[in-house]
Amino acid sequence: MTGWQKRRGPVAGVATALALMVLASPSAFALDPREQLKDTKLEERARGLSAELRCLVCQNQSIDDSDAPLAKDLRRLVRERLVLGESDAEVKTHIVARYGDFVLLKPPFNMHTLLLWMTPLLVLLATLAGLWWAYARRRTGSAGPAGGAALSGDEQRRLEDLLRDR
């Protein structure tokens, strides 16, 4: 559990300082040299996969970054499956079958995450629609020919007063 306090943003660090004092135990960092695969191609794939899998007992931290025992087990599992010759997708499927979608730092695209993945597009369309609407309203609406705002009744009267005074 010691990996995750390092990973908190600084302000969170402040907020969780007390909790950390209880949880902290002297240890260092994630990946141990002994865990690495000899085959550099496979090892590179393992690192890539590790960065996309969540350490389940940590806060928003990948198993690549965490030194929790569970993360270590998962890293070993990833490498075992890769050595067996599985593709990246197969390894992920295997791990999701065990731990659920929660383990994926990039959530899958399905009915429950539809809104999440569509957010950028929806907000973009909404802003463009708003823009188009405002633009259309301006062209047909109250704006005068010179683009100046119309005067209110009060202002019109004052303008007339001023002109009369001259």
């Binding site: 969170a12 300082a17 806060q59 907000v123």
Partner: protein, 659 residues
Amino acid sequence: MIVEFGHFALVLAVLVAVYQMIVPAVGAWRGDGRLMQSGDAAALTQVMLLAIAFAALTQAYVVSDFSVANVVANSHSTKPLIYRISGVWGNHEGSMLLWVLILAIFGAAVAVFGSNLPATLRANVLSVQASIAVAFGLFILFTSNPFERLSPAPFDGRGLNPILQDPALAFHPPFLYAGYVGFSMAFSFAIAALMEGRIDAAWARWVRPWTLAAWMCLTLGIAMGSWWAYYELGWGGWWFWDPVENASFMPWLAGTALLHSALVMEKREALKVWTILLAILTFSLSLLGTFLVRSGVLTSVHAFAVDPARGVVILGIMVLFVGGSLLLFGLRAADLKQGGLFAPISREGSLVLNNILLTVSCATVLVGTLYPLALESVTGEKISVGAPFFNLTFVPLMIPLLVALPFGPFLAWKRGDLYGAAQRLTFAAVAALVVAIATVAVYQRGPWLAPPAMGLGVFVMAGAILELAYRGKVGQVSWDEAWRRLTNLPRSVYGTTIAHFGVGLMVLGITATSAYRHETVVALKPGETVAVSGYVLEYKGARSSKGPNYVEETGELAVTRDGAPVTVLYPSKRLYDAPPQPTTEAGIHNSWRGDLYVALGDAQDAGGFAMRIYFNPLVRFIWIGALIMFIGGGISLSDRRLRVGAPVRARRREQGAAA
């Protein structure tokens, strides 16, 4: 005694804020000049009282007064003085006190420098500002009082989390808060404008410097946090898309959009309604950030449950202010009169594009941060939204923004010439292409997007320089004439150029270090060597030592390049006494090429240590870029035109005539 004095000052400050919330607004409503004026005195009194309260708490920390519960929980007598002081805001209660102090400082600034504001606007702004102070003041007094005593007093405190005992982090929260809270000015002005039902260029001229100042502080605050994470956390990362980082990043994105839309409003009286909305949203995101971090709802569901009162109260404050202001906006926005029209291809058009992309990216970050929380509460299903999601959604939104950025300043107001702008940017495009090709040639690996992104960074930087050259007519007129033109350019032009240059530099740093970082994890015994990115590191051995409040194991690595000695790195691991906690201190050798970064791992059974060694190319550009953006903002802020507002005087005359 001093502590009680501070406590009393805090209570008084809240009472003064209640007065300031009600009386000036009533004065503005009834047209009573004396009531409106009394807001100034209230704002100044409030800031003095809060300064006293803050000084009292600081004093308790400096002398290690362990009869104060807050000091016990967050300080320790062996801590160096600077961290005893930074400990004041290194905890929930103290940081909230800092929050309201900064809020009051901004309010007092309106009272002191606001003499050229219309009286009713000033009164209403002070009232809105005070209403925020009342909400947070009561929050502190009733749920998070830093002045509570402890009896019997323990002999020593529990100490500050050692990873927070760091110079960059000591000043990270004040800057971050100055940014968060600084956006309250834009908010207060927006609400005041809605209350009055009118808004003009003078309004934008007033709001822009405050927004700019807040934006500068937030930029620097975020950069400091990121830099700290880089050298302190020990794995060479600088941004993790952590919910708490996102909490500060969202107001930054919205604030950046606000800076640009306020510009359109000031110069062209267009985008009024949008600018008001953006001002409300930016501060709402600041409140959301405060809520997310302070309630602990994101860091841990349990932290929320431990003290639900705090989270619920901040949530209540947030709902009240966000909901209330949006309601007022819905009711009054239609009354605001729209100003100048413009063609899609124009300076205004480019700034609208900037706003659209920043808003969409901000919404993406917002939904990504809150979605797991919402989904779990609705369906009970747990999902994770982490860095891979944000990289995939955020980056594609930034690319068009960066491509469009250099075009903006070359387009004229109202109707611009895109082809002409493109012609003037030819040199920048060529430079970008050269860099992109050179990147491919040098690295021959990494993602396909990286070389174009490197080119994009150069395009933005070169575009910024070309804009200056264009305005000075360099190459078209004599050197003397060009020099005269350049020195006569307003400072805000330099500010824009410098800030945009910083953005480009940051893009270079982010791309290079993300795509071309080199990483090695090895176990080294004394005498063994490892080669990383052209450097050869020889592990000499490790030794133990004792610091003021920690014990330390330090490794020694001699670094050579092509046989010539470069430096000796001393990465270390510390174990602090109070509280007992390990930290890593990376050994970093920095050069323009990039950083060589060594983090010490666990001692190996077979002898020696595990080590993570990185080469992070151009990583410094990220923080240098942020610093340059900060400096650009500062230069823009020093522009006389931001301070002297001719339209403001005109409006005051008009009001004098009406009275």
